[in-house]
Amino acid sequence: MTFEEFADSRLTALLRYAVMLTGDPHSAQDLVQETMVRVQLNWRRVTRAESPERYVRRMLTNQYVDWRRGSWVKRVLLRGEPDDQLAVPADHAETSADRDQVWSWLAGLPRRQRAVLVLRYYEDLPDAEIADVLGCAVGTVRASISRALSTLRARLVETC
């Protein structure tokens, strides 16, 4: 498989996944872009992985979780040359304002917890695979899920 074939088949899914992680299309684009640049530059190493698809998802997730260390935020968000601006999709939040509160609460979670939720409830991965993506134990994944869910439940109770 060439990088081009990989990008053709996987880019949309990666962008969707990045939107769920970051919560907005701009950060998602930056996250995917930075990850895929590194994928392209290290393509041989990526193809040596058992499943390039999973390997890249892992790269992207780590990139996102390591955000605060400034590894890509510095290079991507503070770089000198802004990319052509994306058209921002129309704001649809008003139509379902209350249910989308959950979306905004997600932004308040620690990144690792949000990543766990996305992998569990968006990507529908089993705990073992989530642990593989995040490079941690299955027990840690379950603990993260339950902590994240109880945070969200607490917010839900507050607003009711």
Binding site: V19, G23, D83, L86, V102
Partner: protein, 356 residues
């Protein structure tokens, strides 16, 4: 309950997904740029290594027979002199001679090699050849013209050491650094070097047609002798990126050359080194001022085993006529750090400036 909400929320926000097209384009653009940068640094490291390799036997020979023509300015070995116990700066210049004595030569690639006082590793700082500078005695011009003014002697052979010297003085005025030596390599030197190692294997992604000899270099890998390499490395016109493509070929060449030297174990064989140095002859001009060459090479050799750190993006593109300018903040602090022997800290504080 909340689990179902989550699934629904995620599904609903799928429509935020940005379109693929622009992302795809941006990925390719950034990857190409970063690949170039990475290559440039590797190539610079390779050139440094090649120069080190080539200069080692020159010293050996000069210590034995010391032919005056090969040991230019100030290399009269004063054995009591030691390499100064401070950071060292060298200037590496790649030049193309444009036919005869009249047209002169300009420095097409300019690289500062900075070795901190603790000799932990080398730092490579690229200087764009189109940087606008004040050349002592010749007014404002592009930096690559300093070599021309310094080396040009009406009707006489070009004075490479003089050209390198004026380039060093110009850069010293611009940066406040002092230079401990210069090395100048011509295309002829490169040709002889290539032949001396038995040719190099280069791989091209596009066919290239020489405007000088009409030779066509096909896409793909090929073995090139010195003459062919030189021909290829001069090509700039009719290529998609012009000068950038030429730079890239030069980088490919440097990599191929280094691979050959390492592969033949030339680096560790003094006899082979001697033969190569002899072949390169006056294609390489070395000037180490009042710093003793032998000690210098000992210092550099200890450094050459560690990967050099490349520093780039120090320069903003200039306003007019394709001249480039220093980025006052970045370059100012970089040169200050180099003067004060704090470059490691500077690099730590400016990770974006490090090229990989």
């Amino acid at each position: 309950m909340i689990e179902d909400d989550l699934r629904a929320v995620f599904a609903r926000h799928e429509e935020l997904t940005p379109p693929v097209g622009p992302v795809r384009e941006a990925i390719d653009k950034v990857a190409t740029r970063r690949r170039r940068r990475r290559l440039a640094v590797r190539a610079a490291g390779a050139v440094l290594a090649v120069l080190t390799v080539v200069t080692v036997p020159t010293v050996g020979r000069s210590l034995v027979s010391a032919p005056a023509s090969e040991v230019p300015v100030g290399a009269s070995p004063a054995p009591t002199q030691a390499v100064p116990d401070r950071a060292l700066n060298f200037l590496l210049l790649g030049i193309e001679q444009r036919g005869g004595t009249e047209n002169g030569a300009r420095a097409d690639s300019i690289l500062i090699v900075h070795v901190p006082r603790d000799r932990s590793r080398a730092y490579l700082i690229s200087i764009p050849r189109d940087l606008g500078v004040e050349i002592p005695g010749h007014g404002r011009n592009k930096i690559n013209a300093a070599f021309y003014h310094g080396s040009h002697r009406a009707g006489a052979k070009l004075d490479f050491a003089g050209g390198a010297g004026l380039t060093a003085r110009t850069l010293a005025g611009e940066t406040g650094l002092r230079f401990d030596g210069t090395a100048t390599l011509t295309f002829t030197g490169l040709r002889r070097l290539t032949d001396a190692v038995g040719g190099v294997r280069m791989c091209l992604d596009h066919p290239i047609r020489s405007v000088h000899t009409r030779r066509v270099f096909p896409a793909g890998c090929q073995d090139l002798d010195g003459r062919a390499s030189m021909d290829l490395l001069r090509q700039r016109y009719g290529m998609e990126w012009g000068g950038h493509d030429r730079d890239r070929n030069a980088q490919r060449f440097a990599k191929a050359l280094l691979a050959k030297l390492v592969g033949q174990q030339t680096v560790t064989d003094p006899t082979k080194l001697m033969a190569i140095a002899k072949a390169v002859g006056d294609g390489l001009t070395l000037d180490t001022g009042d710093v003793p060459l032998a000690g210098l090479l000992t210092a550099v050799a200890s450094v050459a085993t560690v990967d050099p750190v490349g520093i780039g993006w120090t320069f903003g593109t200039g306003s007019t006529d394709g001249w480039e300018e220093l980025d006052p903040q970045v370059a100012g602090s970089l040169f200050e750090a180099m003067r004060q022997d704090r470059i490691a800290q500077w690099v730590t504080a400016h990770p974006r400036q490090v090229t990989r």
